[in-house]
Amino acid sequence: MSGRATTRRQLLSAIGMIGGATALYSAMTTLGHAAETQFAGPPNLSGARKGASIIVLGAGLAGMLAAYELSKAGYQVKILEYQPRAGGRNWSLYGGDTYTELGGATQHVGFAPGNYLNPGPWRIPHHHRTLLHYCKAFGVQLEPFIQFNHNAYVHNADAFGGKPQRFHEVAADFEGNVAELLGKAIDQKALDAELTLEDRDRLKVALREWGALDENMRYVKGLRSSEHRGYDRPPGGGVNGAPIASDIFDRTDVLKSGVWENMAFFMNMEMQTTMFQPVGGMGMIGKAFARQVQPLITHNAKVTKIFQDKTGVTVTYSDTGTGVVSQAKADFCVCTIPLGVLNQIDVNVSPEKQAAIAAVPYSNAVKIGLEMKRRFWEEDDYIYGGHSFTSQDIGLISYPNNHLFGDGPAVLLGAFSRSGLSANRLAGMTPEQRIEAALAQGAVFHPDSYRKEFSNGASVAWSRVPWTLGCCARWNEDTRKAHYQTLVAIDDRIVLAGEHASYVGCWMEGALTSSLDAITRLHRRALEA
């Protein structure tokens, strides 16, 4: 640690000294995982043998992309899909839609025309290049997804007497306090062993600018701090044009607020702006993919057995409506069925492959859409898109990114819950109870309007989605090490694809990169056969 240059490790160590282990951990995860996904353009699958056939199981994005590229390459392709709808977890619920979850609860979605809930994916990072490529190729119109809104709220029951505060106020105060404390540590010579004299001076300048400190390196009430956190009276014109500084928050409340967690969240590569959403709902992507391959899809097909031998792959399936059992045969199989479902299907792959299929549990997640009669968050609170975070079970509320300043009803995302207890607690409720919980918790942000303007709502608990029985594959370091390569390897004539067969888990990009990799290898295998 006596070197002259400041390494990232040394900086982290300094953060650890000032902010404690949690700040250090947060900074490390933020710095540690930044990586774009891998995409080098559509695959080149030339030279397919005439008449060679491939059966694709599942008409989600992974399955439909596989079918699209393989049929383009000359293969005879057939897709079997359990649902009457193509798209898989890429899905939007609109007014007039009906959704029945496991357990039998049926919801009739009552949203106004044009409004929707995206139960699954809802935002696209700018570096998910495979997805963006095919969106453009298939004519999906994208618009900005307002990921980061400084003017939305953060709420933590333990801070500020449980009152939500604007993100820009709390974040500015957090940064100001950290900057001031780190400046003090430098002045008290605590970092002399870490930093050269010149670097200490540079860092102090950086801290003063970044943290909005005054000329004495203090974070105090004043026009300087208000430039970051906002004013008591903002600058204007004329007689009362001069701004008035705002009070800064108590440091303990700022630390208790957990705002650093929200700040670190936005630093994460997957969460960085610019982000996108399809015009008209995320489900537009699934629909666009389906337009490319619809004639190949057999819907309502529940796969019960996948059998491979020297001659090919035979898939047995029953029609979910009529119960009629059929078989389909092909030379090879791309199976995109979620692992929790596949684990209950009779498949003759190697014991190691079966162990891999059985080894990966699925996460839960709950999303709740609330239609409000007017955009009170815009009209009353000047919030245009983005998220207000809460420590309650609902996790956040997220404001619509489209039709800003519009009249008439709009759908808020009233909950996005993924953490174990919170998501399970909401998932275990009836749809009516979920709406009530979402209204009760979300009202903390907009107490005067939330219930008053509520019109209707819909919810999806992924643990009860009949065709996945969960949200996404939940790998950990141990299961990755023990099973991942086995899971993705071709097993004679069968290859698996989907977000579960990727390191971009729970993102559409993972499904697509997995699919392209799987079919590229399968094509090579087919040429060798």
Partner: protein, 134 residues
């Protein structure tokens, strides 16, 4: 049903779970603070019911969520304990959000409700032993 020891109750009383995981998947972001369930019924309602349903009859779609109601496989407590600790297939293990006492409470609850009548109490020690063998 087994009454938890005063020590365990104290532990649970303080167990306001703070879950802050780094975002790799698409996550809401932010800090989730939830008050932990204590009794078997609370754990069942707030955790198990998300999949196994309020009536413990499970569900059937593209695959099956097994019924816990009237399930003879609950006769030996080690089986349901192991399921909750280790998970199986799509079902995760729950040791990240439930401590041994909570698991003992909920296994005891399920074994004495929903048409099951296996009154032998389940202890946190039994759960800890199975967790130890993980």
């Amino acid at each position: 049903m087994q009454t938890p020891s005063p020590r365990l109750l104290l532990v649970i009383g303080l167990a306001v779970a703070v879950i802050a995981s780094p975002a790799l998947a698409d996550e809401p972001g932010g800090l989730s603070k939830t008050t932990a369930p204590v009794t078997g019924e609370q754990v069942y309602t707030q955790v198990c019911q998300a999949c196994h349903m309020a009536n413990a009859k499970g569900g059937q779609g593209a695959a099956v969520i097994p019924a816990l109601a009237a399930n003879p496989r609950l006769a030996v407590a080690a089986y349901p304990i192991s399921m909750v600790v280790n998970g199986r297939g799509a079902m995760p293990g729950f040791t990240d959000i439930l401590n041994p006492s909570q698991i003992a409470q909920v296994v005891g609850y399920v074994r004495t409700h929903f048409g099951n009548a296996y009154p032998k109490p389940v202890t946190a020690e039994e759960v800890a032993k199975i967790e130890g063998a993980k």
